[in-house]
């Protein structure tokens, strides 16, 4: 690395304004240092690692499910015998266990994997650094929200071990199925969700206040890194969309525990016996409240990913992002519109013309800002000098993968074509392209990119490349065939993969085996990553502050940054992505370098 190119800030480094109470740092006991630490970086890293472990766990559940889909009714190898009689007698999975795995896979991936990693992890670690703040605005609340997350996660996981098992009504938990008194799992799911929602709400307040209040001197809104914008919009989505689901969760909890019938109409009959409830509830109410959150939630999954990709693309193309302003406007528009498209998940619930026309139109409109962001990112590559580092490989792959996922959202958004595609594997294919090779790849990119900042060590590029190419190929073999299956009419959430139905016979059903093999291989290709992740902590190449020669503020702090982050007060002199400025000495003019150092 070019060490001379690193200018930590406007002032000499020994004028350590804030660092005086530093020494205490080392003396903190283990509890204060890790369990009750209020440092955003510690919390961020804890979020990230917990999130990664949940991703791995959610993926493991899915690998077990894919066995059942590939070989319906065959005993699960290796772990089958440990699963127990009420889950998999003699290693053969029961349908109710399949449903538990599916519901928990969805819930874990969305609420305990990706959001904690993307928002809790990257948001917490990177955002305050990027805006030059010493910490989050409310460090104690930050800690509280991280514990609420852990509590929620533990609650969910425990439900696997209770009588009746985990929730088994899908991650969408539609009543009356979810309110029938079959299992304790659903009650635990609701309690867990309430903790997770509380965690996200506290977190989002913290993020917004931090971004509004703690920006460094000179860091105006149009100089914010795109990642910060993405987190900002994301926080508003969480803040305003989550409470309705919390309310709905309380209502469903009442239905389960207090015998109310918010979501149950009168006159239900279960296995030949009338269900004794007061009735008069409305099952569609849940769906509205759920999707009122869950559509914004999918943008919560994608916006931080877009933010990460934008950072990495700017850094590795060595040029400014093309159309930064348009991207900022698009991301805010996207956030705003995401509140009025939710019912596109409900076209088949008996919707009339007016409502369906409204929601189809908003759905088509919301695709435009996504196209604008993606186009800007693509055009940013023009005239670049592209470095194919590991983070860049993942970030670049994000573009076409999100493209496939996003584009396949269009036929789903048009109600008549959704008639055929709704609740088939086409939908599964659509959203996995956005969340798995989309968001997860962006998160991998972010890990490779910011790992040196968090640890002072660089991750291995060779293992990184193996991880990338292996994952890229396998994940496409997992999800691409799902479009074929979906068009063929293969329903999702099928215990036997739809083997009973003649319209699935032939190619569609055979693809289940292909997908299974690819999914297990995808699992194998995560091993280089895990090795790289932990190995680099020990053996990784030590790096200085700015190993990627980047421009944003986090790279002016030490790697890893100490308590309070910056040695000198960071001051911002220019926009976020001033790479290859004509006439400049270096190909990057960092935000924190004063004008004269520039000339």
């Amino acid at each position: 690395m070019d060490k001379t190119g690193i200018h930590p800030g406007g002032r000499p480094a020994h004028v350590d304004v804030r660092g005086h109470d530093e020494p205490h740092h080392e003396e903190l006991g283990w509890w204060r240092k890790y369990v009750f630490s209020t440092d955003h970086k510690v919390i961020g890293i804890q979020y990230a690692i917990t999130g990664l472990l949940f991703l791995l766990f959610g993926f493991t559940l899915m690998m077990i499910m894919r066995w059942q889909l590939a070989y319906p009714g065959r005993p699960i190898p290796l772990i089958g015998q440990w699963l127990g009689q009420d889950r998999a007698p003699m290693g053969i999975m029961l349908p109710e266990f399949y449903n538990q795995l599916g519901a928990m896979h969805g819930t874990i991936m969305v609420f305990m994997g990706v959001v904690p990693l993307a928002v809790g992890g990257f948001g917490n670690f990177v955002m305050p650094l990027q805006i030059g703040a010493p910490d989050m605005a409310f460090p104690k609340i930050n800690r509280a929200s991280s514990w609420a997350y852990v509590l929620g996660g533990v609650t969910m996981i425990t439900s696997f071990f209770l009588r009746g098992g985990a929730a088994q009504s899908g991650w969408t938990s539609y009543p009356p199925l979810a309110t029938l008194p079959i299992a304790n799992g659903q009650t635990m799911w609701l309690l867990g969700m309430i903790f997770l929602i509380t965690s996200s709400l506290l977190g989002s307040i913290n993020f917004i206040v931090t971004i509004v209040q703690l920006r460094a001197k000179g860091l105006s809104y149009m100089r914010l890194p795109f990642f910060v914008w993405a987190q900002f919009v994301t926080s508003f989505l969480l803040l305003l969309a989550f409470p309705p689901l919390e309310a709905a969760g309380v209502l469903q909890l009442m239905d389960r525990l207090a015998g109310t019938s918010f979501f149950m109409p009168s006159g239900l009959v279960l296995s030949g016996r009338p269900i004794p409830v007061s009735g008069n509830g409305n099952p569609l109410l849940w769906q509205h409240l759920f999707w009122f959150l869950a559509h914004p939630e999918v943008y919560v999954l994608i916006l931080p990913a877009m933010g990460i990709v934008a950072e990495i693309i700017a850094n590795n193309t060595r040029k400014p992002l093309w159309g930064y302003k348009a991207m900022v406007y698009s991301v805010t528009t996207l956030g705003f519109l995401s509140f009025i498209v939710w019912a596109h998940h409900m076209f088949m619930t008996g919707m009339g013309t007016t409502m369906s026309a409204f929601f189809q139109t908003t759905t088509m409109i919301i695709s435009i800002p996504s196209v604008v962001i993606l186009t800007s990112l693509l055009l940013s590559l023009w005239g670049a000098s592209i470095r194919f580092t590991t983070p860049m490989l993942f970030a670049l792959a994000f573009l076409p993968m999100f493209g496939i996922g996003g584009l396949t959202g269009l036929p789903l958004g048009l109600a008549p074509s959704d008639i055929h595609l709704h609740d088939t594997y086409y939908v599964i294919g659509h959203f996995h392209y956005v969340v798995a090779p989309g968001t997860i790849f962006a998160l991998f990119a972010g890990i490779y990119h910011w790992f040196p900042k968090a640890t002072g060590k660089k991750m291995n590029e060779v293992l990184g490349a193996i991880h990338f190419w292996g994952s890229f190929i396998c994940i496409n073999i997992v999800f691409m065939p799902m479009f074929i299956q979906g068009l063929a009419g293969m329903n999702r959430r099928m215990y036997d993969g739809g083997a009973l139905y003649t319209h699935n016979a032939g190619l569609p059903i055979k693809l289940n085996l292909v997908i299974g093999i690819a999914a297990w291989s995808l699992g194998l290709f995560q091993i280089p990553f895990i090795v790289n992740f932990f190995g680099s902590l020990k053996w990784g190449k030590a790096v200085d502050r700015n190993p990627w020669e980047a421009t944003t503020l986090e790279w002016s702090a030490p790697s890893p940054p100490g308590h309070g982050n910056f040695l000198t007060e960071p001051i911002v002199y220019r926009g976020p992505y001033e790479y290859s400025v004509p006439g400049a000495a270096k190909d990057f003019s960092a935000q924190f370098e004063p004008e004269k150092a520039q000339a």
């Binding site: 969309a241 109409p265 009168s266 006159g267 569609l284 109410l285 409240l289 009122f292 008996g350 009339g352």
Partner: protein
């Protein structure tokens, strides 16, 4: 804002007056209820009074009559989405192509 004690002193009278007004409005609501208006009228009257009371609390006690633009901004955004949320009943009950099963006369809840 009210950082200087003299200025705060002046506002105190306002607080007390608003408090009194709120109590009066509460009395009016209850009194109006005793008149047994038709349901739509009663709903309108009660909600209009509640909104007036609510605005007084927000404007005076919560100092919303003179706040900073960020707070107005955040609340405006909330208001917009709150309105969307208030459309949920409309979305749930209107424009459905189905009819409630009870109305069809098919099912008869066994009460």
């Amino acid at each position: 804002m009210h950082s200087d004690p003299a200025a705060v002193k002046k506002t105190v009278r306002g607080y007390l007056m608003v408090g009194a007004a709120l109590l009066v409005f509460t009395a009016i609501t209850v009194a109006a209820n005793q008149l047994h208006f038709a349901v739509p009228v009663a709903i309108t009257v009660a909600l209009v009074i509640a909104t007036m009371k609510g605005s007084m609390v927000a404007a005076v006690f919560m100092h919303l009559s003179h706040e900073k633009k960020w707070i107005y901004g955040a609340l405006l955004l909330t208001l917009v989405f709150f309105i969307v949320l208030m459309c949920v009943p409309m979305f749930t009950l209107m424009d459905g192509i189905g009819t409630p099963a009870a109305a069809v006369g098919g099912e008869h809840p066994g009460h």
